[in-house]
Amino acid sequence: MKRLISLGAVALLALPLAACGDDDDGGKDTLTVYAAASLTSTFEQLEKQFEKDHPDVDVKLDFDGSSSLVARITEGGGADVFASADTANMDKLVDADMADGDPVNFATNTLMIAVPPGNPAGIKGFNDLAKKGLNLVLCQPEVPCGSASQKLAEDVGVDLKPVSEYENVKQVLTAIEEGEADEGLVYVTDVTDAGDKVEGIAFDESDKAVNDYPIVAVDGGDSKLAQEWIDLVLGDGQKVLSEAGFGAPAS
């Protein structure tokens, strides 16, 4: 019995190693793109197109809050391209001397109020976010959607009291989709993306906080493939982005 257990333990230890071996993809080149969580569905579409145009390249997409991605790159994460949801986090990468070339803006995004389908709480505008007794969820101030939310609240002069602050915008959306939260601030594109699982409510003040999305090749990565990805985003990708609700890049 003891021998059996130790055999099992050895097998368990070897499992992840075996899995690593399978990951090699038979000598394909890999392009690793770190992108803000709000770019999930658009970049997944572009991945298919890129891989169709480059059959020998495997695109690996990694989505997270922009600040989280910057932290991973500066700590040695192997990204070839970084697409941020705001300039502040892109500046962090540039300041760390990890950007290969100058970042280029490729889209803009604005905030929208997200509520469960049917808008049960009857939210009409930004001021309603301060209503008592409703579960408001936001991004934490350190990530782009959070800093935009904070800036809006200050500009409009509304005191927002969230029940939870998340580290990326998709978590905010999930809390609303699951019905745990009554309202939240997310990007216009997230509302489009979520389909009929949430309802979006536009508000007049949203143009007070417009996020620019910059993209750049990461120092030490595959600069040729990275540039081809960036070209795709700035070229054919623009249509995909605008269909998802992104605004044209500010010139």
Partner: protein, 261 residues
């Protein structure tokens, strides 16, 4: 038990044994090289840090008490009762130990969330659990309970039934046997189980962020704060991690001398 005759260990055993020790200690010790000592006092006494530390200690203490209240009866029943249906229960109780905590969080939402099985009735009664400190305690109790149950159940089994039988034959009622004989005999196991549960609660992250959310002072415990700081202020994240390590070491040494762990 350790006074029996000494059997020599194979010498080669020391190499992997030392390697294992280094494997655990080295990464933790390496954190010391990343601390910015000049900022350290300021970082660990910031408002966010103190509120997270306080919340962590309070919720972990509460969940340990809950684990004791629920776990001790369960452990004794599992160790002593002969009922056949206990077999599957014995395995199911271990689930939180094996499940990724995030899955635990999703499960808790399905039960206690606003749209959850029980949660919708609680919501109707005006009681909301998600996003509250209570949710943090529930998440911690969920993941910590197996630690207490497993270590206590083992202790009860090891202690055997001899003294219980003698006490009963002398006329003690079952409750008296439990209170005066069974539990006192397994006190070290009970203590180490409670400390393990406390330590696990202190480190809880996945179930908490999924089920309780993250808000300073209400649900943002130390591990959640460290996770947040890691992307924005690495120095602060390392400083808070060191605080958590120190708390963990204090907790471990509290029971370690008893040799019960």
């Amino acid at each position: 038990m350790s006074n029996t005759r000494h059997v020599g260990l194979p010498r080669w055993l020391y190499l992997p044994a030392v390697l294992a020790g280094v494997f655990v200690v080295l990464p933790v010790a390496s954190m010391a090289t990343r601390i910015s000592w000049a900022d350290f006092p300021g970082l660990v006494t910031s408002e966010a840090a103190l509120s997270a530390l306080q919340l962590s200690l309070k919720t972990s203490a509460a969940s340990t008490v809950l684990c004791l209240l629920l776990g001790v009866p369960l452990a004794v029943v599992l160790a002593r009762s002969q009922a056949g249906w206990l077999g599957p229960l014995r395995s199911l109780v271990l689930l939180p130990l094996v499940l990724p905590p995030v899955v635990g969080g999703v499960a808790l939402l399905s039960a206690f969330g606003r749209k959850g099985l029980l949660g919708q009735h609680l919501e109707a009664a005006g009681l909301q659990i998600a996003f509250s400190t209570i949710a943090v305690v529930i998440a911690q109790t969920f993941v910590s309970l197996p630690f207490l149950v497993v270590s206590l159940e083992g202790a009860v089994r090891t202690a055997g039934e001899r003294y219980d039988v003698i006490a009963a034959s002398l006329g003690a009622r079952p409750t008296t046997v439990l209170r005066r004989v069974t539990l006192p005999l397994v006190l070290p196991g009970l203590a180490s189980g409670a400390v393990l549960a406390f330590a696990r609660s202190l480190g809880e992250f996945g179930a908490t962020i999924t089920f309780a959310g993250s808000l300073e002072g209400t649900t943002r415990t130390l591990p959640l704060l460290i996770y947040n700081l890691r992307v924005t202020d690495t120095d602060a994240a390392v400083a808070m991690s060191v605080v958590l390590v120190v708390v963990a070491i204090v907790v471990i040494t509290m029971v370690r001398p008893r040799g019960a762990l």
